[in-house]
């Protein structure tokens, strides 16, 4: 089973919005818009550029690009990450000059293009604009919780391996979770590594407590009204 996200700045938000539509397969995946890595993703390969997919060809070939459009900050060591933003067809890519450093956290910001009349316009969907974080560390995090057919799915920051997880649904531990491979808009080659979500076996869950080893605890609660759609907000973390 696969979950597909489409038109995604951050995978969790997109997953929330399009889970139902794409659960059976994303037929127009090659025209999806996204930025990879997704918000909160970890274990990002050090040799993989940051990639923005737009709905149409970005600019004429060899047309210069505003380098301030996409900026990356090193959250671990501080400072802007030097690199080049290039465009190729409908994709923009940020190549860090020295590659991504291992075990480092980053944040990227995609800004709206400066309005310049009498030039080709770089059309970036508003949903792609903004900022997000990613990391080359291997730590496992809970990125978001989303709803699919009333079924709760917990999106992880990387592929689930042999990690020790403890998950409590409404205070009860021990449910039989299924591991779901996540793709984005049906584009298989966007992610060089698999992303996983864990989907609960039952519907109608009110609260979730998620523990990763002994290091991280996430307590998820729905919005007022009790719907699990309240989990859509990114990194909704109540005091563990």
């Amino acid at each position: 089973m696969r979950l597909c996200a489409d038109r995604s700045r951050s995978l969790p938000l997109a997953l929330s919005a399009t889970l139902l539509l794409c659960a059976g397969g994303c037929g127009e995946g090659d025209q999806s818009t996204y930025i990879a890595p997704f918000d909160g993703q970890t274990d990002w390969p050090v040799g993989q550029p940051l990639e923005v997919a737009l709905p149409n060809d970005a600019l004429p070939p060899d047309y210069p690009l505003d380098q301030g459009l996409l900026r990356v900050v090193d959250l671990t060591n501080g400072g802007l990450v030097e690199g080049d933003v290039v465009h190729d067809g409908r994709r923009l890519r940020f190549y860090p000059t020295d590659g991504w450093a291992p075990s480092t956290d980053y944040a990227w910001t995609l800004s709206a293009p400066v309005d310049r009349n009498r030039e080709p316009h770089l059309m970036i969907p508003p949903g792609l604009l903004g900022d997000a974080t990613f990391s080359t560390t291997a730590r496992l995090e809970l990125v978001d919780a989303v709803e699919r057919d009333d079924e709760l799915c917990l999106l992880l920051s990387r592929a689930f391996d042999d990690d020790v997880l403890r998950i409590y649904l409404d205070g009860v531990r021990g449910a039989d979770w299924s591991i779901v491979e996540v793709t984005v808009g049906g584009v298989e080659d966007v992610q060089t590594k698999t992303l996983h979500a864990l989907c609960a076996p039952e519907a109608g869950v009110e609260t979730v407590r998620f523990e990763v080893g002994d290091s991280a605890v996430y307590q998820l609660t729905p919005d007022s009204g009790g719907a699990l759609s309240g989990f859509r907000s990114l990194h909704r973390v109540v005091d563990p």
Partner: protein, 267 residues
């Protein structure tokens, strides 16, 4: 070289009203060597000649300068005009320059039955990879296109006018704000008011859609300092762009105007 060749042919041609008529000489006003023309309204009447023009977009949204050369030849009932612009414009990191679209206009007139109107076609062919515009979408932005034209002139004294209507289809390079294909409807009117033998005023208004500047108003002063030479200078006001009515994603406001300088010769 092509333009010069046109001129060579043109100098050997007589304008239609210069046909020699057997019989007594009749005193009459000398025919105007120069055509009645605006910016959108193509030359009507006049002799063959060469034109060199500059259009500079001034203001906060400016920075584009276009220079163009046009050669025009009258041959029988036809008038052929070929032009090529070159543009200097800004990009996010530098200024650059490139060739615009080669334009060929062919107009037919029946000097005996209907000397007041012309029909024809205008064809655009890309010669470079230029991505900017002044007031017309087809002049510089790389692309192909063809328009069918009808022009008609009015008046025969110090005040003359003409209208131009056109409809066409264009296939520009498909980068925003240009669509992949668009149809264009164009209507323009020009008035030429002679002030003295050597000085006149030219005013033009035009509407086009689809266009990067749908409504333009132009005012120019023309001066003929010597025989066979005409200078024109003036401004084009992109009023629709000022109102925010244009396909480009820019806010409304008076941020630009186009300064035009032209030199025309008649042979």
């Amino acid at each position: 070289m092509m333009l010069l060749a046109f001129l060579g042919v043109a100098s050997a041609q007589d304008a239609p009203w210069e046909e020699r008529i057997e019989g007594d000489a009749v005193e009459a006003d000398a025919p105007d060597d120069f055509a009645l023309q605006g910016v959108d309204v193509l030359p009507m009447g006049g002799r063959s000649g060469l034109s060199v023009g500059q259009a500079s977009v001034l203001g906060g949204d400016g920075g584009t300068n276009a220079w163009s050369v046009h050669g025009r030849v009258n041959a029988g009932h036809a008038s052929v005009r070929v032009g090529l612009p070159i543009a200097a414009y800004r990009t996010p990191d530098q200024r650059t320059a490139g060739l615009g679209n080669l334009t060929a206009d062919v107009l037919y007139r029946d000097d005996e039955a209907h000397p007041e109107w012309q029909v024809g076609a205008s064809v655009h062919v890309p010669t470079g990879r230029t991505y900017t515009w002044v007031n017309d979408a087809e002049e510089l932005w790389s692309g192909v296109g063809i328009d069918a034209l009808y022009q008609r002139r009015f008046g025969d004294g110090p005040t003359q006018g003409a209208i131009r209507t056109a409809i066409g289809i264009h296939g520009p390079a498909n980068y925003a704000p240009f669509p992949e294909v668009y149809a264009k409807v164009d209507i323009a009117g020009v008035v030429d008011q002679r002030i003295s033998d050597a000085v006149g005023f030219v005013g033009e208004g035009s509407f086009s859609w689809w266009d990067t500047s749908p409504v333009d108003l132009t005012a120019m002063l023309r001066v003929d300092p010597v025989d066979q030479l005409r200078l024109r200078a003036g401004l084009t006001l992109p009023v629709a762009a000022w109102a925010g009515w244009q396909p480009a994603q820019v806010v409304s406001g008076v941020r630009e105007t186009t300064l035009r300088l032209e030199l025309h010769t008649a042979h």
